[in-house]
């Protein structure tokens, strides 16, 4: 099972995405978002990126999703929709599950996946070994490079986040 662990985790990832995109009430959407976040962290950790996986848990699940959960709990309705309560939601969820099952069976038959393009596995993050400073991993070096060479990216993303807040406040302000 350990050789297929990335595959199993990615199947759970897609199933939880189907779970919230079939639009139950947001509180249940948040529930499967937690599952998908944790599973996504597992996928990243399996490729050797332990730092980024822990970032997903801490910042995404522990920060943003907690705030999302609290605001959804404040704005929830009396009878929230589950996947089995509404025919439409259940139908979409089952349709998504069916497509995922068919895709899984197709993938398990062949070595490489060729639906629209050929995809024959990804590599891990590289590990650099310098003599004096020890072992570096590529994914941590990427995060460090973001703040040194990629200063423009930090500026652009920071500005996008600020303008995102302004835009959301403007849109929801109404008259």
């Amino acid at each position: 099972m350990m050789t297929y662990i990335v595959f199993i985790l990615s199947v759970i990832f897609v199933v939880s995405f189907v779970g919230f995109s079939s639009k139950p009430s947001p509180i249940y959407g948040g529930l499967v978002l937690i599952v998908s976040g944790g599973v996504g962290c597992g996928i990243i950790v399996n490729f050797g990126g332990s730092f980024l996986g822990l970032m997903v848990f801490l910042i995404y699940l522990g920060g943003m999703l907690v705030v999302f959960g609290y605001t959804t709990a404040m704005a929830t309705e009396q009878y929230p929709e589950v996947w089995v309560s509404n025919t439409t939601v259940m139908g979409v969820f089952l349709l998504g599950l069916l497509m995922e099952v068919m895709l899984v069976l197709y993938v398990l038959k062949s070595e490489e996946v060729g639906v629209v393009f050929k995809f024959s596995g990804v590599g891990d993050w590289a590990i650099y070994d310098t003599g004096d400073s020890g072992v570096f991993s590529e994914e941590i070096m990427g995060v460090a490079a973001l703040y040194s060479y990629g200063a423009w990216v930090v500026i652009v993303t920071g500005w996008s986040l600020l303008v995102g807040v302004l835009v959301i406040l403007e849109v929801t302000r109404g008259d």
Binding site: F117, F119, V153, G164, L166, E170, G174
Partner: protein, 346 residues
């Protein structure tokens, strides 16, 4: 809207397009598109009625889907070439997906359905920004990947766009929908010549933006959004009826006016590349566009459209001052003698 916030959001729209046009990393281009989309939503929703909200939602959904397709094409390109710089797209699948994504952003057929509905639901100024500035970013990316675009797909989309833009505008009386169908047709002309000579695409884009700016500013000046209210301009400012006539004929591509220059150059470039049926078809279908422009000029400037007697005596309150209007009118009608200067663009 608070003027400071409005200025910030408008500047972010400009910043998004600038980031798209000047980046060499695919991820930054995607970020630029998203920033552009995010910041233009409150501009589209300046008035808070259900129509603007519906139009902004439709715009957001289609453009977000296009950005997702763009990201998928970027990742396929990364998988097959191993690098993030924009030179050309190395995989045919990625090229097709990217062309479809950029066509969705531009409003080419078969992804044109959002253009009339979104343009109709928003105010005239927002429609102006939507139809001119928002076309710059996707067109710049198409220009940069033009060596690797699949010719069949792009030409099919272009010819169908000219057809849809001509036919769809025939039954319209709302001016914003007419401008939307005109935009679809002009985008078709621009992308038809993209693979052969991308400079002409940029020329067409420049002249189209000038003409559309002029038309929208003339509409804003007379505050008219339907053909009927446009036909009352003889009473408010009689000079603008002549200006509307000249600009509309220029948009239709008639010879002594500057709108003829891109069409002429495009047809010449296509025939130089030994495709003769295609430019003939395109020129014939541009006549459909000319027909509904002529219908607008008929009701506006060529006849005094029948109206009730109280419409013939309008109170003149303060007229809007649009500073950029006279130079734009001159540029969108008198640029044809400058065509030999195009040789500097090589």
């Amino acid at each position: 809207m608070n003027p400071l916030i409005f200025t910030t959001i408008l500047m972010t729209v400009l910043l998004g397009t600038m980031i798209v046009m000047m980046s060499s990393h695919w991820l930054m281009i995607w970020i630029g598109f998203e920033m552009n989309l995010l910041a233009i939503i409150p501009i589209l929703m300046k008035k808070y009625n259900p129509r603007t909200m519906e139009a902004s939602t439709k715009y957001f959904l289609t453009q977000a889907t296009a950005s997702m397709l763009l990201m998928m094409a970027i990742i396929i390109n990364l998988m097959h070439s191993g690098q993030w710089t924009i030179t050309k797209v190395f995989n045919p699948t990625a090229s097709i997906i990217m062309t479809s994504a950029l066509a969705m952003k531009l409003g080419l057929t078969p992804f044109h359905f959002w253009v009339p509905e979104v343009t109709q639901g928003i105010s005239l100024t927002s429609g102006l920004i939507l139809l001119t500035w928002q076309k710059l970013a996707p067109m710049s990316i198409l220009y940069q990947i033009s060596p690797s675009i699949n010719l069949n797909i792009l030409l099919t989309m272009a010819v169908l766009s000219i057809l849809v833009g001509g036919w769809g505008g025939l039954n319209q009386t709302q001016l914003r929908k007419i401008m939307a169908y005109s935009s679809i047709a002009h985008m078709g002309w621009m992308t038809a010549v993209l693979v052969y000579n991308p400079t002409l695409t940029m020329l067409n884009m420049l002249i189209y933006i000038m003409m559309t700016l002029t038309m929208f500013m003339l509409f804003i000046h007379s505050s008219s959004t339907t053909t009927l209210s446009l036909s009352h301009t003889w009473n408010k400012t009689p000079l603008t009826t002549t200006l509307i006539l000249i600009t509309l004929l220029s948009m239709g591509g008639l010879p002594p006016l500057s709108g003829f220059m891109p069409k002429w150059m495009i047809i010449q470039e296509l025939t130089k590349n030994s495709s003769i049926i295609l430019p003939t078809l395109m020129a014939i279908m541009a006549l459909l566009n000319l027909y509904f422009y002529m219908r607008l000029t008929y009701s506006t400037s060529l006849t005094m459209f029948p109206s009730t007697n109280n419409m013939k005596m309008k109170w003149q309150f303060e007229t809007k001052r649009i500073t950029l209007l006279p130079p734009l009118i001159v540029m969108s009608s008198l640029l044809l003698p400058l065509t030999p200067m195009l040789s500097i663009l090589d």
